[in-house]
């Protein structure tokens, strides 16, 4: 059965710090005791996300920290109760048919959450057993996955001593152990060395070729570009752009971005920059603390610099800094939000 993912107007408002992010627990003094006097803080994590992810697609959620990516994944994997809206895996309503949904999905959390009381192989075997995989098949699959993730020689060791990269590989192997139709990966390559990242991408593509749907979150542009067939860019709990990486990059005026910083502010300069050949959009950088920074979206990068320098000197304004970005998803994010993805 091929399963896609749909969400309609998903909303999530946290009234206490989200446990998935806080790491803390319920203290003696926290909770309802204080509730009456102090209004509960409301954190809007999702503000109406609607997505249609096709069966067999590798789909990426791209956005900065706190954009709502993990909360979206949390709702789709039954771990977060939505405040509003609906979500489906295949034809199953995620909130109403949780057990059936859990059979279809495999989940790799942002932080490794391996069972420290078990060895690597046991982690895979028990995970398979939770999903009712028979013992012969369990042993076979565990061997194949340990091999594929280059963990065979560490299979019988406790995972407590594993490096971060090894834990991440084992987490992904575990999520694949029951052969789920939909695989969720929350920042799968965060903290991995380049070689392991490439291995991981290869395995994800391979898994996708067998017809599985994959939803991953990332704030790594390169990963989104290299791996995802389609992307949604998310910021402040909203979907701000959707398309293939190519389409999205093409939606940035010109493609190139020149971030300029001048010695002083000059409205006249701003106007003159707009007349440059190849400049598609010129605007004061909204993210900057002063208004001496200007973003120029253009179809060229380097060749424009000398013309800009000439314009600046004729306007009697000092050009202090130039930064050129080639067409990228980073530029797209900047264009939509005025902020860098790493902010």
């Amino acid at each position: 059965m091929l399963a896609g993912i749909r969400t309609r107007d998903l909303r999530k408002i946290y009234t206490s710090p989200p446990p998935l992010a806080s790491g803390g627990g319920f203290g003696f003094g926290s909770g309802r005791g204080k509730g009456k006097k102090q209004p509960k803080p409301q954190i809007v994590a999702l503000d109406g996300i609607s997505l249609d992810i096709l069966p067999g697609e590798i789909f990426g959620l791209l956005g900065p920290n706190g954009a709502g990516k993990s909360t979206t994944l949390g709702i789709l994997t039954t771990r977060v109760r939505p405040t509003g809206g609906q979500a489906w895996i295949g034809e199953l309503d995620v909130w109403r048919e949780q057990v059936a949904v859990k059979r279809l999905i495999g989940v790799v959390a942002q932080r490794p959450n391996l069972d420290f009381a078990l060895t690597a192989r046991e982690i895979l075997l028990f995970h398979g057993a939770y999903f009712g995989v028979d013992s012969h098949q369990r042993a076979e699959r565990a061997d194949v996955l340990l091999d594929r993730f280059k963990l065979r020689d560490r299979g019988d060791q406790m995972v407590r001593g594993f490096s971060g990269g090894m834990m991440q590989r084992l987490s992904i192997a575990r999520a694949m152990m029951h052969d789920p139709q939909v695989l969720f990966l929350d920042e799968p390559s965060a903290g991995l060395d380049p070689q392991t990242r490439l291995l991981l991408w290869e395995i994800i593509r391979e898994y996708n070729h067998s017809g599985k749907t994959i939803l991953l979150t990332t704030h790594n542009m390169e990963e989104a570009d290299a791996l995802c067939q389609r992307l949604a860019i998310i910021d402040h709990g909203r979907n701000i752009a959707l398309g293939t990486p190519g389409e999205l990059k093409a939606s940035v005026p010109g493609g190139y971005l020149l971030r300029l910083r001048f010695g002083s502010h000059s409205p006249e300069l701003l106007q003159r920059l707009q007349t440059l050949t190849g400049a598609r959009e010129v605007r004061a950088n909204p993210d900057s603390k002063n208004d001496n920074s200007i973003d120029v979206y253009a179809d060229r990068g380097g060749p424009l610099v000398s013309e800009i320098a000439n314009l600046a000197s004729s306007a009697n304004v000092e050009l202090c800094d130039v930064h050129i970005s080639e067409p990228s998803l980073e530029n797209l994010f900047l264009h939509h939000t005025g902020r860098s993805l790493r902010d």
């Binding site: 319920f26 771990r79 859990k102 932080r111 959450n113 391996l114 028990f126 939770y130 999903f131």
Partner: protein
């Protein structure tokens, strides 16, 4: 209900318990056995305690062992796994309604508490003999009390484990478990508090009182004890209340 998943989760817990067998045994029995030796053997043979104290002490020690084992077995892993290591996440994603995971924890904790309680009897008997006089008049009542005590310890572990944060583990011992043990009629019968009438009433909110008195009433009924039927009712109510509170807290922790 998905029994395959439930049994696999039980198998996982049994596997981990087997792996940690030696520390588990030491943690469960070392303290009660030392207590039995000092109070039941040293104090009695030196004449500071009457010989009958040996028999009076045994049910209390059994109750302490069971409660410690049950609470420890359920609460400690939950505190760590929900907060620090998040190990429990994989099991929360197992194809089963999440409350069953909590029930599985309670089931396994109850088994551990039962073993801990039942092993104390021969171990203490060996340490204390001669002079321990057990009068098991109604094995059925004894079985019911023991089962309810074990269940209470595991349900209490669930409620505690899902309600306190990692930083409060020390407080859990000093502010919850220690007062429970000292005011739980473990080392003395409830009737010994007759000189402190207010305290005698107040300690009735402590479930361990019913555990100790129930075991006393079924194992060594020659000593004064609360009526066994009342103990059975009280323990059943405590079990139900702790289970309901524990499940509620578990769901709140599992789904944000």
């Amino acid at each position: 209900m998905n029994w395959k998943t439930f049994l696999a989760l039980l198998a996982r817990d049994a596997h981990v318990a087997r792996r940690n067998f030696a520390p588990l045994v030491l943690q469960t029995f070392l303290q009660p056995m030392m207590f039995v030796f000092i109070f039941g053997r040293v104090m009695v043979s030196s004449g500071y305690m009457p010989a009958a104290y040996k028999s009076l002490l045994l049910p209390g020690i059994m109750a302490i062992s069971m409660v410690f084992t049950g609470v420890w077995a359920v609460a400690m892993p939950l505190i760590a796994e929900f907060q620090f290591t998040r190990e429990i996440e994989d099991r929360l994603l197992a194809p089963m309604e999440i409350s069953w995971l909590a029930i599985e924890k309670v089931f396994f904790g109850t088994l551990q508490a039962l073993v801990a309680g039942l092993v104390v009897i021969p171990a203490a008997w060996l340490l204390l003999r001669p002079g321990v006089e057990l009068n098991l008049r109604s094995p059925l009542s004894f079985a019911c009390v023991t089962l309810l005590v074990a269940l209470f310890s595991a349900c209490g572990g669930l409620a505690l484990g899902c309600s306190i944060s990692q930083t409060h583990i020390g407080l859990m011992f000093s502010m919850v478990l220690t007062p429970m043990i000292f005011f739980g009629c473990t080392y003395y019968p409830w009737s010994a508090l007759a000189h402190f009438p207010i305290l005698q009433k107040v300690v009735l909110v402590n479930p361990l009182v019913y555990a100790s008195e129930g075991l006393r009433g079924t194992l060594v009924p020659q000593f004064p004890h609360l009526p066994v039927p009342a103990v059975l009712v009280a323990l059943t109510l405590f079990d139900a209340a702790f289970l309901a509170a524990g499940l509620r807290q578990f769901r709140r922790k599992a789904v944000s």
